[in-house]
Amino acid sequence: MPRFVIAADGASELELSIAPVITPQSLAEAFTELREPVSRYLLALGLAPPEAEEVVQETFLRLCQHLDAKGPQDNMRGWVFRVAHNLARDEYRRKQRRPAEQLDIEKASGDTPEQQLLADERTKRLEAALSKLPVHQQECLHLRAEGLRYREIAEVLNAGVSTVGDWIQQALKTLAKECK
């Protein structure tokens, strides 16, 4: 957030922060921008669509309360993904299952049937390979696929940035072997 700092000579100068700040007024904008990426992340983690939708709603409700109570929030995207991630974990614990086989996910495609068949085959192999990875590596790859930087992923997963780099590298190495 921009802050005025009194310089030594008494004149005021503007100091700009690095992280973007989103105010409650732009909450609707944040919802529009982040709703789909967060939904995709939750679905990729294996949440069933109704649960994913519920988690998304709960996440933005909490964001609203948070902004109301504490004012502007730095790194909104990281905050939203972290809350959604923690809610998804709670959901797992509550249900004690990973309902990947119950997914009712719309898989949009404009390909021909043959192309669709090949794509489905590739997707199945990828899903199978991903599911064999340790959970934290899966989470890293899914967050990365939604465009989060390592710093943000580290914040979501409560880990170090270099650890995140190692997990991603190990995950890609394993996937390369599995998908050959």
């Binding site: 996910i105 899914h142 990365r144 590298q169």
Partner: protein
């Protein structure tokens, strides 16, 4: 962070792929990758897998049937609006184009305007008048619209109100008013004015 003197560690390849290195480090890695078959193969494999995961994510959507049902209605509304607009513009283009000066001339005609169609409150006894010959176009009036169905209403208008219309008005005592014929367009907005007194 090289595994040996020549090849960078795989973790460095991933960092370069994800733009997590500074420019100098990234350039060094990419230079090496472009000249080393083994590292290029690994780098390309990591990139292919990363793209595959992103593409996989793009296929994930929560079904939202309600939104699908709305689409036909939105499309129908858009078609209706387009059709209505086209009809309106065709109708308008059939009418003769009226220049602002002609608007004034046409507006002079309606003597019958003080017929029963005019609300009683605005009806004023005809009296020998010193009316100006033509209506003066009000500054904010839109001359592009036709005035074939215009009406004239005679009314007493406070001088201050006249000033608000943008007309230049001589200074007058507070509360003073003037009798005038006001030309009302089909849209219900005043277009011109003709002073009686």
């Amino acid at each position: 962070m090289k595994t040996n003197a020549e090849h960078p560690a795989e973790s460095m390849l991933v960092l370069a792929l994800d733009n997590e290195l500074d420019r100098q480090e990234a350039d060094a890695i990419l230079d090496h990758v472009s000249g080393c078959d083994g590292c290029r193969k690994t780098f390309e494999e990591f990139r292919r897998l990363s793209e595959q995961i992103v593409n996989y994510h793009q296929t994930l959507r929560i079904r939202r049937p309600a939104r699908r049902h709305v689409l036909p209605y939105v499309a129908a509304a858009a078609v209706f609006l387009l059709a209505t607009s086209a009809w309106y513009w065709m109708k308008m283009s059939d009418r003769p184009v009226t220049q602002p000066v002609q608007v004034v001339a046409k507006a002079v005609e309606p003597v019958k305007i003080e017929s029963p169609a005019v609300p009683a409150v605005h009806r004023v006894q005809r009296r020998p008048s010193h009316t100006s010959a033509v209506f003066i176009a009000l500054p904010f009036s839109d001359s592009a619209l036709p005035l074939t169905d215009a009406r004239v209403v005679r009314a007493k208008i406070p001088i201050e109100e006249l000033r608000l219309t943008g007309l230049t008005v001589e200074p007058a005592p507070k509360g003073a008013s003037i009798e005038a014929d006001v030309l009302i367009g089909i849209d219900g907005l005043p277009r011109g004015i003709r002073f009686v007194q």
